[in-house]
Amino acid sequence: MQVFLQTLIGGVTFGAVYALVAMGFSIVYRTMGLVNFAHGNVVMIGAYAASNLYMFAKLPFPVAVAVAIAVTALIGLVIERVLRPLENKDFDLMLIGTIGFGTVLEAGAIRVFGATGHAVPSPVATAPLDVAGIKIPTYSLLVIAVAAAATVLLGLFLQRTKRGAAMQAVAMDHEAATAVGIHVGRSNAMAFAIGAGLAALAGGLIGPMLYVNPTMGGSLGIKGFAAAIFGGFGSMRGAIAGGMAFGLLDSFAAGHFQEYSELVTFLVFAAIVMVRPTGIFGETTVNRA
């Protein structure tokens, strides 16, 4: 029982981070119908930016993450701006473009930060909370709280603001959105910036839980992408549910199958997606592919 609950907490913590990554994938897909294959590498850049600012520039952890979000949002804007001429014209080239950007980011990180990477000390030094014999790391609580807050803020933005409504409108019908006066390119740029910001938040938060290195983007990107598909690609609720499901799956698989855990995780994922290709909230997603 104790092991089970302990694993559960670990799973939810990673799940919260995967959910952030998945939301970043989904918000870009929703608005543009594009899978941003550079997303995982943007997470990695976010992790590097946050950890470097925290460890070497000695910024407080929240400030370091905030700066990292700003930096990666800028990268998101650059990617969108470069790909904009292809928007709604050549999709395959756009996809390849995002893969290219991902490779560039990874190679750039190796060049600037070296190939080895570094461990990040936990920013909350306090001992784990002890609840009825189960140890809850305080950092886990922080990660879950921040991810939840980011999710709520994003939801409020999409539901309550004019820009949020406009972004959803572009996702549903970009021509009609243009006709009512929405600048589709600008809306897409914002989606990219928000997606990249979420990536940096995820990267910044996962830094102290993993080893920050130039290739971490690959596995995090795949997991976040899988989580988004799991939940129903393009759906925000789906991204959260999928992220959580993937985190839990990952964590229980790690407990039971050790070195085969990734294999088991993705096998289960593949089986579920075969049964339910649209994911958990699949029916309500926008389909632009």
Partner: protein
């Protein structure tokens, strides 16, 4: 008041020519119809005016605004409302959100949403419903209502009768006539010639991407040539 002027408009999709050398004007308060069979180039013409299709033209202007140089998303600011073919409402958003997005460029605290609900009361009753859950006729009203939210001076409508029952078509016709009587200029593209003659004062008949005939709606209604163009005889 502003006149919509289109001169020498051509539309090409790759090597396919959809419209060639189309010219017309819509005077303030006028209602002009463009009729023709399927594939005659009506929709392409309208989309090209909106900047949503690849176009060449000597001139497209609305009042003093040169629309050839205006990006598509700025047209609404000049007072041009557009009701696309197939309605194209935002299906996952509520009726109210759809309408508010029609006033995207304006202040959401001062929109004519009351007037839209007044024109189409059913939209008011369903304002919290998702637009995708509405019937075809209700979606058409929503699309028209959305275009009205920017307080347009001219409204471009593309096949508003498509897929609607005769009763609903009648309701749309009544709505359009009322808007026109209130001073809104209308450019109506339709396959349904009878509806178009009811709503408009003058019409163009398009065939194979070109204007085949023009005249007052009253005269075209009895013109045997129109019948020929339609039936391809």
């Amino acid at each position: 008041m502003s006149t919509l002027i289109v001169e020498g408009l051509s539309v090409h999709y790759g090597g396919v020519r959809a419209a060639r050398d189309v010219s017309f004007t819509v005077e303030p308060g006028q209602s002009l119809g463009i009729i023709g069979a399927n594939g005659a180039g009506k929709t392409s013409t309208l989309k090209a005016v909106m900047g949503l299709a690849p176009r060449q033209a000597r001139r497209i202007a609305f009042g003093e605004h040169d629309l050839l140089r205006a990006p598509a998303h700025t047209l609404v600011r000049h007072g041009i409302g557009y009701v696309p073919e197939g309605r194209h409402v935002f299906p996952g958003l509520s009726v109210e959100k759809n309408l508010l997005l029609g006033a995207y460029t304006g202040d959401w605290k001062r929109t004519p949403i009351g007037e839209v609900y007044d024109l189409f009361p059913v939209l008011g009753e369903m304002r919290h419903r998702l637009a995708g859950a509405l019937s075809g006729g209700q979606q058409q009203m929503l699309a028209i209502g959305r275009a009205l939210m920017c307080r347009p001076r001219v409204m471009l409508l593309d096949e508003p009768s498509m897929g609607l029952s005769p009763i609903l078509v009648e309701e749309i016709v009544t709505g359009l006539k009322r808007l026109n009587a209130d001073g809104l200029s209308i450019l109506l593209v339709e396959q349904n010639a009878k509806l178009t003659f009811d709503v408009t004062s003058a019409c163009l008949v398009m065939e194979n991407g070109e204007i085949a005939a023009t005249g007052t709606s009253a005269a075209l209604r009895v013109d045997p040539q129109v019948r020929r163009i339609y039936l391809g005889l």
